[in-house]
């Protein structure tokens, strides 16, 4: 469980970040000299406290922060796909057009319909975004990234609003996608279990740098596995969750 730079092979990394600074004004320097490499096809989970700069980093990789102060070196592949933290469906397009929007594949509509079915939204192709529940919107936005085949997938908490079962299905879906097209993935999540289950590597952002960087090398990715529990405990500890934080019984005599 030693920190790992991610530079395993001789091939150049898909993502290369050096000495990245991002600064939202006095006292709000969010990234302060961050370095990161992600190998092609590598699945990296990014965890960190709320407000540490995970979305800021993703936006830097996506090239959406032209107007933010800061400097540093960022290299990413040409074709990048982003799942935003908000689901960001165009309100004036129905779901299917939203999912295939920008896709130039000749069979875009068929693929869109298939992607919608995969995320459990078959039959909702003609719904308006505002007619979907929170989790459904999130899944639609996931479907939008499924119809694309990017070299880099940046996903900002794509499963935050999903229940356990749906989440497990979406995990499987994402894994299938990764196995077929092997994009490099940077997935932001708050769920340490999710990070361990999905990723090749988990990195923890804190104080503007990569504070912890662990490779996940488990034979069985099951919470029942003791190695799993150990890694989980380690990560939670690095996140600052200690035993005293775990709630004791309360309101015993309600």
């Amino acid at each position: 469980m030693a920190a790992d730079t991610g530079r395993l092979t001789g091939t150049p990394p898909a993502v290369r970040v050096r000495d990245l600074y991002r600064d939202f004004g006095p006292g709000r320097t969010v990234l302060r000299g961050l370095d990161l490499d992600v190998a092609p096809g590598e699945f990296v989970a990014l965890i960190g406290r709320s407000g540490t700069g995970k979305s800021t980093l993703l936006r830097a990789l996506a090239g959406l922060d032209r107007d933010v102060a800061g400097h540093g070196e960022v290299t990413v592949p040409d074709s990048v796909s982003v799942v935003f933290q908000d689901s960001r469906l165009l309100p004036w397009k129905r779901i299917l057009p939203n999912v295939v929007f920008g896709s130039r594949a000749p069979d875009a509509v068929v693929r869109g319909e298939r992607a919608l079915a995969e995320v459990g939204l078959a039959g909702r192709e003609r719904a308006w975004p505002h007619e979907l529940s929170g989790g459904e919107q999130q899944r639609a936005s996931l479907a939008r990234s499924l119809v694309r085949q990017p070299e880099l997938l940046l996903a900002d908490e794509p499963f935050g609003a999903l229940d356990a079962l749906t989440r497990i299905r979406m995990h499987a879906l994402l894994r299938r996608l990764c196995e077929t097209h092997r994009p490099a993935v940077l997935l932001v999540t708050h769920d340490v279990d999710e990070a361990i289950v999905l990723a090749d590597r988990v990195i923890l952002l804190d104080d503007g740098v990569v504070h912890t960087d662990v490779r996940v090398e488990l034979p069985h990715r099951s919470p029942a596995d003791p190695a799993f529990a150990e890694l989980r405990a380690y990560l939670l500890d690095r996140l600052g969750v200690h035993d005293e934080d775990v709630p004791a019984g309360r309101r015993a005599a309600a």
């Binding site: 996506a62 959406l64 074709s79 935003f84 960001r88 165009l90 397009k93 929007f101 920008g102 505002h130």
Partner: protein, 268 residues
Amino acid sequence: MTAAVDTRVVRRRLGPGRRIRLAFWVGPVLLLAVWALGSAFGVISPAILTAPWDVLTAFRDQWVEHDLLGNVLASLARAGLGLAFGALAGTVLAVVSGLSRWGESLIDGPIQIKRSVPTLALIPLFIAWFGIGQEMKVVTIALISMIPIYVNTHNGLRGIDGRYAELAETLAIGRGEFVRHVVLPGALPGFLLGLRFAVTSSLLGLVVVEQYNATSGVGHMMTLAEQYGQTDVLVVGLVIYGVFGFLADATVRLTERKVLTWRRTLDG
């Protein structure tokens, strides 16, 4: 389930609530009633505002004797043609100046200046350039109705949520697709509001342009009536304007409601 109980939590509604059917007509009908009663009871002197029934007579007279229908159609043709050109030009300019800072710096200032200047004072220029025929009239109306389309579309476009542009940028689409799928639908509410103003502007423009070498048209009719001081004919013109303006506006707003169903706003 026919008489199912339905007690809901009742919360004070702060928005306007549901549309009332036909409520739309209440205002105009009330206006008409005030006018009719005021005239009947002598509160409104006929020298100031002809009574509705006298307007009806004048209306019939204009219809039979002076080809009112022909006047109206000629005017509508002019206004419609001008409006079509104006709307097109306004939209194109708004998109160009909305999406490029350089386009804006070239286009926006002159349009604001044009907008500030009385049209009547520009007519001599237009006559010199376009003559006094139909061309001059259509161009003038197009320029008049272009303004609100431009300003409102530009404003609507600039009001589009920046996150949708970000999304589009990550999808690596071209400018054309961006305009078609993000800019135009996003600016549509603004465009439609502009259209509401443009429709009335194009009709009002008739009063100005039909002073020049027109032998037909409502504006022409009103110009003559004003010069002669024929209040009743003037009021026929006013009523025609009011009715057309109101109906055109209502049509645009109905369209608005149809094409903006995706919006979840206070309008419900």
